[in-house]
Symmetry: D2
């Protein structure tokens, strides 16, 4: 088996090690990455195989910090409750928190990224590099694309991703700020712009105001940054891990899990 | 129940949201964090409640990128194999990868942090802020502390944490580079310095060369940066999430999980 | 807050405890469940709110043992590799193994259950209890339902669930045995029967032989047993947990994770 | 590589498959396990490599059903909150629930098993098969062993495992019932008997009543059943998976996660 081509699967560009060396992203880790790249820059490099420009780093950091935490969310509570039962295995509590990043929370970043990418792709075809080929899309065209995409979703009885939030009914405070940061860095690309049209079209069609939410804006920004839309759902997990770790550091000092359980248990037994 | 003090548990400094606002780390997320802090800086702020200096950020980024990836490790393989079965739930594959960050891999960052902190604490007591009180420890004292701590471990038949690596037998290439970056930033503190003494004492006592490994050096640096030792095991997970996400983006294009399974299955059925 | 109706969410039929009592499924756990019900019977009771007949128990056990293990699958390997890094947290290794039970492996049990249920539901409406109302479906009708359902999937470019297996190309050895056990217990219901028609229709339409796989047959049997189709994906996890735990007990004595990693790492570094 | 002895790691007794066959526990799955063994019997076989007697099956089922559920525990809440965010990936919600089975909840089953096994082992040495060699231990000897073991723990400032429960202060209702079932099946072995002495000694020494809890009794019973103590922590997860799956089936109909989150979020924002 060692001599046939099947063994060829045992390779990766992400990283590797020999007795004396470690390489990550095709580079010597100690001399070419440590002290040279931030974690955010390395994440960009690992996912796109290119180093980010300072502007791209600024926007990526803005996306990541915008999605790192949102308080005592279901994810944060699940992580804290897991810590209650297994404080010695903090990796398990972090994992439990991440497992809630699905179709309802955080996952919409990825769904929005794919939805916008597909809508543009149907009209423009695949961009050769980043979103270069799509960046000249004018607003009238984007409006048309938005109408087509929203109508298709509505016809299928499916939700338009990236819109609405159970707490932020009028405006998600992360969204306008992210658009401003994108614009200030010259990175207000076709996906972010299309998403704004999508929200407007959706309101026209439904008569209901659903603001662009933070996950949706973040997902759009990630594709404008040149990340593959399929990576968006994973990339936002890097940010959320930071928030979850902070919750667990706090949980050790100021527990939420145990009193939450005892209160729910007491209420539950009244039934 | 709502009116008694028990409900007081429902609070956190990490983050929170109202209809119109989101605050993280006690600040307005859009205006005071987005566009202002990198993900690394936010992680530092969330865990220590202080903003890092540029030097602290530089060292923290160096720790994080040094531990983001190490190739097709058990963790990366577990994540990829999980993706094979559940490609639609990338959060599950990332979680599976993180779950292997225990006592053998990555977890030693936290064990080393705690071990060094406890050894210094026994001599100096609790530092009032950061490691300020310990920073003047001279090398002779650190050598004595290292001897005491190593001998105690050996007497208990326990391993000294932070030393040795199954692949990097002579030197872990991350370690000297991390010490150099710490020194260049004026942050070569008592934990990193003590760890070097620990490795020397351990070699003297056992007659066996075990280099300071990357996880151990990273854990020591985190405590020198002022992070609580109990947080070290969690903080390195932020970095590893970035590596795992990159593996999964690659896995979608260039699968390792499926051919690995088929080869193992075939070999297994020969028995 | 305690006095309004919102607190009503804090209740569950599954279980509860007071200082002196524990009730599960609305019964006194010590006197009415322990020593009275097997784990399989309790699982049936918890999911359907009814005790199973001996025949139902026999079929449910057959489904569960048929899906408990399939050797060194991606799930088993992920669990073992996770144990390599975190042997002290066995719950993490089991969790990592379960996380691979998605759309590709094991998850098809649930997809098949839902697919068959929906196909029957379109014709017969919702059954009042179990599958009673559907149980008289004759083979000609089931063939027609199968044609409609298969054609709809093929028209949508989607796979028909429950068919085909990467290893068992001709026949999945679990399938005929499960049908025989169902029949011997008088439980060869409309879902299992429909699935056989689905396989036949699919072969007619595509000209390709894809046998009913073990997960698909198991999913069909679960719905014939009266379990809600949405529960099938979860129920099979009970069985797989048993297999994963056994793999981890073995892993502690006879490691696969560490040598697998070292071999992959060595091969990987040759690139 | 295929030709050297290293490839020998790719084997397992648990299960395996070829094109036409599946074997589990060294047997033909369809003909020798399906329709022959219950899930509980298969679990016993997989962990011990022996088929259980009817008495052993009865006790193992009693242990498993006793630990399957305990209401809206931290684990059940974590699973439900994870479902809130990712209802499409039920395996993730189950995994999140299992991750809380650590040193505080459920894990004590394993800690107790190991503690009792080690205490007996120190006196009697390793049993040749099951606990045969230890089964004649008289009560005076067990009392002495209990005193030695409890005193050692207290001297080390460590908790005695298997005692006490935050809700069941006087008696854990599962415990006397499990002892009765063990006795009725002729399986009230040295571990269960030792644990009763441990509780009595602990009360004598501390002046505080801590009843044998359900996890502790379950862990003791598992070792008396001939399971390796190291397997106990894993085996109880099989039972808990059944409880968690039931919670998630209920969660889909009667949500706890979302209203719990919204209430905590609202309270949290009052600070």
């Amino acid at each position: 088996m060692a001599n046939n081509e099947n063994t060829d699967w045992a390779r990766t560009w992400i990283g590797g090690a020999t007795r004396d060396e470690i390489h990550v992203a095709g580079r010597d880790l100690p001399s070419e990455i440590m002290g040279k790249l931030t974690l955010t820059e390395l994440a960009y490099l690992l996912v796109t195989k290119r180093e980010p420009t300072p502007q791209q780093t600024a926007l990526l950091d803005a996306v990541l910090v915008s999605l790192a935490d949102h308080g005592l969310t279901p994810s944060a509570l699940a992580a804290r409750l897991t810590y209650t039962g297994a404080p010695e295995a903090i990796q398990g509590a972090v994992a439990a928190g991440l497992l809630g990043a699905g179709s309802v929370f955080l996952g919409p970043a990825g769904d929005t990224a794919q939805f916008l990418f597909d809508a543009l792709h149907d009209v423009y075809g695949t961009p050769r590099e980043d979103v270069g080929d799509w960046s000249n899309a004018d607003d009238a065209t984007l409006r048309t694309i938005a109408e087509r995409a929203v109508d298709a979703r509505r016809a299928a009885g499916a939700r338009v991703p990236g819109l609405g939030h159970p707490v932020h009914k009028d405006v998600d405070p992360r969204t306008p700020r992210l658009y401003a940061i994108a614009e200030a860095n010259g990175l207000l690309g076709p996906h972010l712009r299309l998403l704004a049209h999508v929200a407007a079209v959706n309101e026209d069609r439904s008569g209901k105001h659903l603001p662009v939410n933070g996950a949706g804006a973040g997902g759009a920004a990630l594709v404008d940054l040149g990340l593959p839309p399929s990576s968006a759902r994973g990339v936002v997990l890097i940010a959320r891990t930071a928030g979850l770790v902070a919750h667990l550091v706090e949980e050790a000092e100021q527990p939420v899990g145990m009193p939450l359980w005892l209160e729910v248990e007491e209420r539950s037994s009244e039934h």
